[in-house]
Every structure is written in structure tokens, then in C-alpha cells.
């Protein structure tokens, strides 16, 4: 056992990178669920974003355009879900599962000729002298733009949901769509926009895996991150800052357990391997001991006649 082999600065930096895809997907899904829609297609939208971002980045040489394409790709796929559930009034659970399966297949098809290609490097944000500050520099200022974007989206989501009229309307639609409809709000339009936002965020999260975290394209490379993001939203009781905490906890402990294994710590590996799931769930369940609950209309189909 040699704990000195673990570099805490690199560990924390790696934790932030590992948490970012989950964070992005989860915050998108949070907005969708606060609007009363349960989209189980997060995994499908992530992998579609991953492949769209990868293809565009390789072809244009610009990761920035790639990430935009990833957000667009995820949003376009989520539009399919919006059509099925908001226009065709299909069951949300079934449509979401179908979206995941469809996304996995579609991305495998699109990515066939991109296996084994190395994408252009995504540069870290040039923050100048800030990145040279000892300890804090590499932890806080040494990241790529998407990490900061993810944090900004969390802060913005929180602010919008808590303080603005738009947030109030969105929550009203999610809590009681009949009442919101009676007040004259366009339930379907608001939900469709929320679904699009969720798709874009999931797409960004997926592209973070294919362009920065791995970086390469491999079929099925999100490997279940979308499902973790979905679970995180529930355990975070639909609150943005808890999603952030949950994502960082999960990413952090995942990294920590790998580091502990490498350092040869004498804790059975099975416990280490399950620790990210267990710790994240326990912490969030304890936090959600207050009176928070799911949005009232979550998962229910809305029809104006109803």
C-alpha cells in the first residue's frame, strides 16, 4: 500500500472531468422532469450526441463546432421523443426506452467509418496566470470550456427555476398540467422546449465522453452513464445543486476507488467497485429527508380535453 502514489490535485481534477458527462445529462433531464415529462431516452441522446460531436469535430477540426453539433444532434433526437409523447400522446416510458435503443443503433451506424480515428485535441480554457496558481490552479482553472459550461448550466437552471417567471411556469406545467392549461399556458409547447433542452444537454454530455474523456469513437461507449444520470435526478429530489453534488460525488468516488486500487489499498475490490453507487445514493437519500417530492404531473400524458 502506497498512498503517496495518489496525487490529490490530479485526483480532484480527474473527478471533475469524470463528473461532467453525468452532470450535463442529469441537469438536462432535471429540467425535463420538472416540466412533468419522464424521458428515459437519456442514454440514446447521449450516444447520439457523442457520435455527432465526434464526426463533426473530425471533419471540421474544431471541437467547438463539434460540441454545438452534439447539442443539436441530441436535441434533434429528443424532438422525436417530443413528437411521440406530446403530439402522438404515446406512453412516455415506452417512448423513452425506444429512444435509447434507437439512439444506440443509429449512433453505431453513423459512427462505422470513424472507429479508430483520433479527434483533434480540445484545448483547456486559456485562463492565463490563474492556471499557474499552485494547487488551486490545476483543480479550478485547468479545465476545458465544457466543464465550466456544465457548472454555468447548473447555476442558470437553479436561478431560472427559483427566481423567474419562466421557471414558475415550467414548474406549474410539471406540477399540474391541467391547472397550467386552464391558466392559458401552452403545456405542449413548454414541454417540447424542455425536452429539447434535455436532449441538447445529454448530447453535450455524450460528446464530452467521445471528445475529451476517452477521446475516440467506439460503439456503445456511453455504457450506461445515461441511466446513472436518470437515477441521479430522482435521488437529488429534482434540485439542481443536489444534482451537482451527486454527480461530483459519483465521479469523485469512481476516480478515488480506481486510485485506491492502483495504490494497493487493502479494502476488498468489490466494495471499492460498488462504493460510487452506494455512497451517492446514501448521501442523496439523507439529503432528501425533507419534504421534497416528484413533480405532480411527472410521466402523465397531457391532452387538452382532459
Amino acid at each position: 500500500m502506497d498512498l503517496s502514489a495518489i496525487n490529490p490535485i490530479l485526483l480532484i481534477a480527474a473527478m471533475i472531468a469524470a463528473a461532467t458527462p453525468i452532470l450535463l445529462a442529469a441537469i438536462g433531464e432535471l429540467v425535463v422532469e420538472r416540466a412533468g415529462v419522464l424521458n428515459l431516452g437519456v442514454e440514446g441522446m447521449m450516444i447520439t450526441g457523442a457520435v455527432c460531436g465526434f464526426i463533426i469535430t473530425v471533419n471540421t477540426g474544431s471541437p467547438t463546432i463539434g460540441f454545438i453539433a452534439a447539442a443539436v444532434g441530441g436535441a434533434v433526437l429528443s424532438l422525436l421523443f417530443a413528437f411521440l409523447t406530446q403530439v402522438a400522446l404515446a406512453n412516455q416510458v415506452a417512448s423513452g426506452l425506444a429512444l435509447t435503443l434507437f439512439g444506440l443503433g443509429l449512433s453505431a451506424l453513423m459512427g462505422q467509418s470513424y472507429v479508430g480515428i483520433k479527434p483533434p485535441r480540445t484545448e483547456t480554457t486559456p485562463l492565463g496566470p490563474l492556471a499557474d496558481i499552485p494547487v488551486i490552479g490545476p483543480i479550478v482553472f485547468g479545465h476545458d470550456l465544457i466543464v465550466y459550461l456544465g457548472l454555468a448550466i447548473v447555476a442558470a437552471t437553479w436561478a431560472v427555476l427559483t427566481f423567474t417567471r419562466v421557471g414558475l411556469v415550467l414548474r406549474a406545467v410539471g406540477e399540474n398540467h391541467d391547472a397550467a392549461h386552464a391558466l392559458g399556458y401552452k403545456v405542449k409547447r413548454i414541454r417540447t422546449l424542455a425536452i429539447l433542452f434535455g436532449g441538447a444537454c445529454a448530447g453535450l454530455g455524450g460528446a464530452y465522453i467521445s471528445l475529451i474523456r476517452v477521446p475516440q469513437w467506439t460503439e456503445g461507449m456511453t455504457a450506461g452513464v445515461g441511466w446513472i444520470a436518470l437515477a441521479l435526478v430522482v435521488f437529488a429530489s429534482w434540485k439542481p445543486w443536489r444534482v451537482l453534488l451527486g454527480a461530483y460525488l459519483f465521479g469523485g468516488i469512481t476516480q478515488l476507488q480506481l486510485n485506491l486500487q492502483g495504490a494497493g489499498v487493502a479494502i476488498p475490490v468489490e466494495y471499492l467497485a460498488m462504493s460510487p453507487y452506494v455512497v451517492t445514493i446514501i448521501v442523496l437519500v439523507i439529503l432528501s429527508a425533507d419534504k421534497s417530492r416528484a413533480p405532480g404531473s411527472l410521466g402523465r400524458t397531457f391532452h387538452a380535453s382532459g
Partner: protein, 360 residues
């Protein structure tokens, strides 16, 4: 027509159709069950190359089907059952975790032949097992790794603590330590065969902790990408050549060549000569290939590696040759003694010098 009548007649038609297929059908149907996607660039990719080779060899006389991303465990049983019901004559199940499901399904379909990769259970006369002696390739990797490491720390990404993986770790360690007694192995178990993000994370952690060689026993090319990103770290292709990362960081590879075996077994089913057996071939029989050793490896090391490959192939050298002790210091093999296949097949201990415990 009533619904029940419809169902009954549909069942009749199916039954008749099935019977007609059973006695006189022309095409031999071969099914493959894969643990990952065919595009993983590693393990499943090579099995699928074997499937394509079967198609190329027999043309119209054979029909192949495959199902990818099949989870190890109960779900695989459903997939195999469906394949057997759909008229497959021969089914290859290509991951260790399919061992019990394969035998369970084989009991229900005595006329269908089952071939399970990397397992050891043959409970029924219609089950064969096959595997490759990957540990021979690991010996060569260990030699190159031991010679080339500067930090004397070699990282190893393990999938599951099963004999096949432990054998590989031992073989690599024995040969690395032989040429470099200071070498240290850092082993991380990721508990997955295929999860690029997790594999990349594990590789990064090993590199951050000082490893300048990363060996992987997982299926994707993600660790190669991580090593390339880090720079100055060498890797080896696993299961497939992973040549897109050559000449550096990937300096050589173990390539699984299943095609000759798949062709031979399909032929045996066609000829009616198929029987249950255990096949375990290595470099000599061509089931384990060693990918080109790139120019990043010094000439003399490359020559030694190739000499070892030749000796392993002709049987003059065994990768587990004594004197060797187990991790706890108890004797494993005496001077000049080689490990028998039974010991190798069930290997559940580290050899002396490796630190850490095998998860039980």
C-alpha cells in the same frame, strides 16, 4: 377464424416448417452470441471476423446470425434459446460469463451443438469449450514491458478476477520480473469487459501513479487513446491488433484468430463428425497471433521477443516454467517443471512478487 384457431394453425405451420427444415434443410445455421458490440475494436470484433470467415469459406451452404451486447447471465440464456428455436445448428457463445447459460440451454436442445469460449464446463455431450493460450502472448508482452519500462511501474487493467485474466497477469509479471527484478505491477479491476470511459479512467489513474507501460485485459481501445494522450507510455493491443495506435503507444499486440477454428467446427457439423471436446490452442496452432512489434521497441528486445515467440510456438519453452513460487511464498513449480493445463485452467493465485489480493 377464432384467435385460438389462428394460433393453433400458426403453431402447426411453424411445427411443419421446423420439421421440414430439420430433416432436409440445405444451409447450416451458425449463431454467435457476443458480449460487446462488433465495433469494439477488440475481443468481439475478432470473433465477428471469425464469423465472416465462416461465411466466406462456405458461401451459400451456411447462414450466420449474431446478437451483440448480450449481458452475461440470464439474458444470454434467452438469446441462446431464441437462436436454437430459430433453427441454429451450431452456436458459439463467446464470453466466460455465458458458461452456465450455455450448458443450461444445451440441455434443452440436444440436437444443437454449443461451443463456449474460455470456459471449462462441458456438462452435456453437445457442449464443447475452446480457448486460446493468451498467456503465451502475455509472456512476450511482459518481456518487452520489463525491458522498456523506465519507471519500473507497469499498470494492468483487469476485467474480472477469473482464471483467464489472472493467468495473463502472472505470465506477464513472471517475464517482466525475469528481465527486470525491480518491476512492480499495479493492477486495477474495472469489473467490465467493455466500458470505454471506465477503461480510459483506469489507464489514466495508472499513468498518474507512475506506470509507463499499460497492459489491458478489457475489450475497447480506450486505454490506447489514454496512453497516446499522456505520451511516453507504451501499450499492447488486446484481442485485436489495434494497429491504429501503432507504432506508438501500441508496440505489439495479442491477436485472437478464431477463423480456422470456427471454420473447422462448422465443417464438422456439416460432415456430422462434430463431437464434444476441449480445445486450447496457442501461438503454435495460430490461434494466438502476435501483432507486429513496432520500431518503438529496441532491436535487441524485438529479437528476444521474436525468439521467445518461436520457442513458445514450437513447444520448446513453456510460459510457466519453474522455479516459481506462489504469492505467499509456497512452492508452485520446481526447477524446470512446467504447469499442467488443469492448474492453468483454474489458476486463482498470484505468483510471488505481485502485490495485492485477488478479489474473491
Amino acid at each position: 377464424m377464432k384467435f385460438t384457431t389462428l394460433l393453433a394453425s400458426a403453431a402447426m405451420v411453424l411445427g411443419l416448417g421446423g420439421a421440414a427444415l430439420a430433416d432436409g434443410h440445405e444451409k447450416t445455421k451458425v449463431g454467435f452470441v457476443y458480449v460487446g458490440p462488433v465495433g469494439d475494436g477488440g475481443w468481439t470484433y475478432e470473433h465477428d471476423q471469425g464469423r465472416l470467415a465462416v461465411e466466406a469459406e462456405f458461401g451459400d451452404k451456411v447462414e450466420t446470425v449474431f446478437v451483440e451486447n448480450v449481458a452475461e447471465g440470464p439474458d444470454s440464456e434467452r438469446v441462446m434459446t431464441q437462436m436454437a428455436l430459430d433453427g441454429a445448428d451450431l452456436i458459439f457463445t463467446t464470453s466466460f460469463g455465458y458458461m452456465d447459460p450455455t450448458n443450461n440451454v444445451a440441455a434443452k436442445f440436444p440436437d444443437v451443438k454449443f461451443e463456449h469460449a474460455t470456459g471449462y464446463k462441458r456438462l452435456h455431450p453437445n457442449v464443447s469449450t475452446y480457448s486460446a493460450r493468451f498467456y503465451e502472448g502475455r509472456a512476450i508482452q511482459g518481456h518487452i514491458a520489463g525491458k522498456m519500462t523506465k519507471s519500473n511501474v507497469i499498470g494492468y487493467i483487469g476485467s474480472f478476477p477469473i482464471p483467464e485474466v489472472i493467468r495473463g497477469i502472472n505470465s506477464a509479471y513472471i517475464h517482466a520480473a525475469k528481465v527486470n527484478p525491480d518491476v512492480e505491477f499495479k493492477i486495477i479491476w474495472v469489473y467490465t469487459w467493455f466500458d470505454p470511459a471506465k477503461e480510459a479512467d483506469a489507464a489514466k489513474v495508472l499513468i498518474e501513479q507512475g506506470a509507463d507501460v499499460v497492459l489491458q485485459h478489457t475489450d475497447s481501445t480506450a486505454p490506447q487513446a489514454a496512453a497516446q494522450e499522456a505520451g511516453g507510455v507504451i501499450t499492447f493491443g488486446q484481442a485485436s491488433d489495434m494497429g491504429q495506435y501503432a507504432p506508438f503507444p501500441r508496440v505489439s499486440s495479442i491477436i485472437d484468430d478464431w477463423a480456422p477454428y470456427y471454420i473447422a467446427r462448422t465443417q464438422a457439423v456439416m460432415d456430422g463428425t462434430w463431437e464434444s471436446k476441449d480445445t486450447w490452442d496457442g501461438i503454435g496452432a495460430g490461434m494466438v497471433g502476435i501483432g507486429e512489434i513496432s520500431d518503438a521497441v529496441p532491436e535487441d528486445v524485438k529479437a528476444e521477443a521474436l525468439a521467445m515467440k518461436a520457442a513458445l510456438a514450437d513447444g520448446s519453452y513453456h510460459a510457466f516454467t519453474g522455479p516459481l513460487n506462489k504469492q505467499d511464498g509456497s512452492p508452485f513449480l520446481a526447477e524446470g517443471e512446467t504447469a499442467d493445463d488443469g492448474t492453468l485452467a483454474g489458476m486463482n493465485f498470484y505468483v510471488e512478487g505481485i502485490e495485492g489480493d485477488i478479489p474473491q
